[in-house]
Amino acid sequence: MFLSRIVLRDLDSIDSPTYMASSKKVVTRDVWERKLRDVKIRKEDMNRLVMNFLVTEGYVDAADKFRVESGTQPDIDLATITDRMEVKRAVQSGNVQEAIEKINDLNPTILDTNPQLYFHLQQQKLIELIRAGKINEALEFAQEELAPRGEENQAFLEEIEKTVALLVFEDVKNCPYGELLDVSQRLKTASEVNAAILTSQSHEKAFLRSPPPPQLLPTLQHSSPATAAAPSQPAALLPHRSSFPSPRSSPVAAPSLSFAVAPPLFFSPLHRQLTGAAPPFQIDGRLSHPAQASNAEADWDGLWRQISGLTDYSHPFLFSSTLALAESYFFLYHHFLVIADPKLPSLLKMLIWTQNQLDEKAAYPRINNFSTAALEDPSI
């Protein structure tokens, strides 16, 4: 009566199983439909799956209506989602200032307890002013907002000094430090950053998933799509960067500085990949609608594209500050926005995968068109 026993019984009771030339077992439509009917699926579980989708994709109002219409309880308090969506919108449209304000409204302690995060966000603003050529404004901002931070913290001071030093170069792109870093090297560094971020994680919020177990880390760098193409050789990056002259602005120090002082991140794209089975995400300024925003496909390259629109990655210091900015974005994104990943896409992919696996052994009615879920007869 149970599905597994039915399956085995079928295998046994078929007297002369029909085999294709390549000896695949053929399952007729009738037999398959009987199996389909015998599956026991609770409506309650399907409702929960749908609710999970609505909640994680940010359809707050729809989730609320669904709660009323179907009696299903949402995974998470709906009230908090709207707030997060606001922050998310600000972050993804690159409006750092607005994001900071909204975060402060939502949870003033978060920036207080993460001074580095706040500092990097401020620093980014300074860089933007310099790039825009607004020298006076930049200096004023540096003096009023950033310098006090530098007094509190030696590391911050160094960063401020480096940032201000950019003012010296008329053409930042062609400054002596600026050896253009190509895409693959950026990607390598990105994976390096990611690994470092992961090792710096230690906390877990109530609704977030736990950090990946340490044993998983070695596999991560290779499983990230960003590094899939480029061979992961973070070490190769270091000698190149160590060719920069000044010991104080040593490029080896620069990136490690930025994430040594970086706040412990609760998530990272690869972490999400691990725990939530979603590929690394992409911040796409185009996505301003809350519903769409969280389901963006992930892509380090896309992130760089957007951030490089904000800053200049040719300069090693700027590059490291870009990394810091990336971290900040990730931190904000994940802390405020990731509640969980929707289960549904993952299950649909599992269906594709399982059918592909089964194809090797049997010819059976497949579902090829997910929008109709129509069974297609096994081709003989």
Binding site: R42, K65, P279, W353, F370, S371, A373
Partner: protein, 475 residues
């Protein structure tokens, strides 16, 4: 085909293409019943203690609690091993099986070992010394895979060490651990039921076994999670049609008539609908009668069956035209149930006499379709039996008074109304949403796949997936 609306849901006829609302089965919508079903779905006997019947009693003695074994006397040669198997073979309906052994006393020569053997193993030889067995031996740290000569594998182990042995059905490997750390693994080349096996072979050797009643030294949960993640990341890399999840959710809402949710969903995704058409998804047939279905559902969920009848008469008279149809039975029985809920027993009896009596004798309810839904034929009797109890809610049929029962009736009415759509080509679509069809296919495919893998490994079960959601939400 549901062309003839006259003989809508005539269950007496063999017209299997008609919409059969009973397939939306109500019994296991109640939590208690479902737990039973779920347990049966996943039940598989597993080792719990050592087998005292076939152990080599000459050379070793198993403790009274059947969890330890001690060598007797002194050993002299290679055919006096005190080997013991577990009482049952390792279960295969899971991703990984694992157990551990603790060396209480390495005795004179420390020749304890752990591994897996088949039925009919020569119970005087170390696991791994005979074909169709494998063993990790403590005296030399070697791995034996069916020949007398082993290969260097891991560290030796002695008194106080906890050694684990496991079968990874996903990667088809055996693996061993020592004191919580993995030692190594190798491909599983033995077929058939495998018994966890431990052995002692020299004076005073004693080992204790743990089949899971106590916590393991090795973090097996983590290992299993890792394995599952690997599988999931493989499938997650696959290409999924963009917006398909959105479409599937939308069609679910349409199917069940959750109109308010649907409207909100559409409004929030205003940029998406055009994409749907672009992707060639087409206009969903479930749009049919959605506002009516929404109202009908609301009425039934609030217990107002009289209004439901009225509305159906106005909007879809063909549904209730046949007084003997399943849908009429369900509606009448729900009305009856509502009387019981309101504790209006006299009215309940009156109603039953007027409307339910005929169903008790109807041959359609005598088990004709009772193969997989054996409770079906007893449903009219069960419902009427509610009368017998003073406090029906506290009995085993109390689930009939709960809202899942109302929901079942609502879903049945929904399906039947959908079937009145002249454009509805496929009766299955009245019963199952696109999402449900996909989930069923996933379930069957995953079971079939396991069957091809010698019935080893885990399968997809929606309720287990959703439980995982629940657990990670709480943690």
């Amino acid at each position: 085909m549901v062309a003839n609306q006259e003989q809508e849901v005539d269950t007496a006829s063999p017209a299997a293409t008609a919409v059969d609302p009973m397939r939306l089965a109500s019994r296991w919508r109640s939590p208690e019943e479902w737990n039973e079903v779920a347990k049966e779905l996943e039940a598989e006997p597993a080792p719990s203690e050592l087998n005292t019947v076939n152990s080599s009693g000459l050379f070793a003695v198993v403790s009274t609690d059947k969890m330890s074994v001690r060598y007797l006397g002194t050993n002299h040669h290679g055919h006096d091993v005190g080997v013991v198997q577990a009482d049952r073979p390792a279960p295969t309906h899971r991703a990984v099986y694992y157990f551990e052994m603790r060396v209480k006393n390495a005795g004179e020569k420390g020749q304890t070992s752990i591994g897996f053997t088949c039925e009919g193993f020569k119970m005087r030889r170390q696991p791994g010394w005979e074909s169709n067995s494998c063993g990790y031996h403590g005296d030399d740290g070697y791995l034996y895979r069916g020949h007398g000569k082993g290969e260097s594998f891991g560290p030796k182990f002695t008194s106080g060490d906890i050694i684990g042995a496991g079968i990874n059905y996903v990667s088809q490997e055996f693996f061993f651990t020592k004191n919580g750390s993995p030692v190594g693994g190798f491909p599983k080349d033995i077929k058939g039921p495998l018994y966890p096996t431990i052995a002692v072979h020299s004076q005073d050797e004693e080992v204790t076994v743990n089949f899971g009643k106590e916590q393991f030294c090795f973090d097996i949960e983590d290992y299993i999670l890792k394995e599952k993640m690997r599988q999931q990341s493989a499938s997650d890399k696959l290409y999924l049609q963009p917006d398909i999840s959105h479409w599937v959710v939308r069609s679910y809402l349409l199917h069940y008539g959750y109109q308010d949710t649907l409207n909100s969903f559409d409004m929030a995704s205003e940029t998406d609908p055009p994409a749907n058409h672009q992707n060639g998804f087409g206009e969903p047939p479930e749009m049919y009668g959605i506002s009516h279905r929404k109202i009908l559902r609301q009425l039934i969920m609030s217990g107002d069956i009289d209004s439901t009848f009225k509305r159906l008469g106005e909007w879809y008279p063909q549904v209730i035209k046949d007084e003997k149809s399943v849908i009429c039975f369900l509606l009448h029985s729900q009305r009856f149930i509502e009387y019981i809920r309101a504790e209006e027993c006299e009215d309940a009896v009156k109603y039953a006499r007027a409307n339910l009596a005929s169903f008790l004798t109807h041959k359609a309810f005598d088990g004709a379709h009772g193969n997989f839904w054996p409770f079906r034929f007893s449903m009219p009797f069960e419902i009427v039996a509610l009368l017998a109890y003073d406090k029906p809610a506290e009995t085993c049929i109390g689930y009939l008074l709960d809202s899942p029962q109302r929901e079942f009736v609502a879903d049945a009415v929904n399906a039947t109304v959908l079937s009145t759509n002249p454009n509805m080509k496929d009766p299955e679509s009245c019963l199952y949403s696109c999402l449900e069809k996909l989930l069923r296919q996933l379930t069957v495919c995953s079971f079939e796949r396991r069957a091809f893998n010698n019935d080893q490994g885990d399968t997809f079960l929606l309720h287990k997936e959703m439980q995982k959601c629940e657990r990670s939400r709480r943690s």
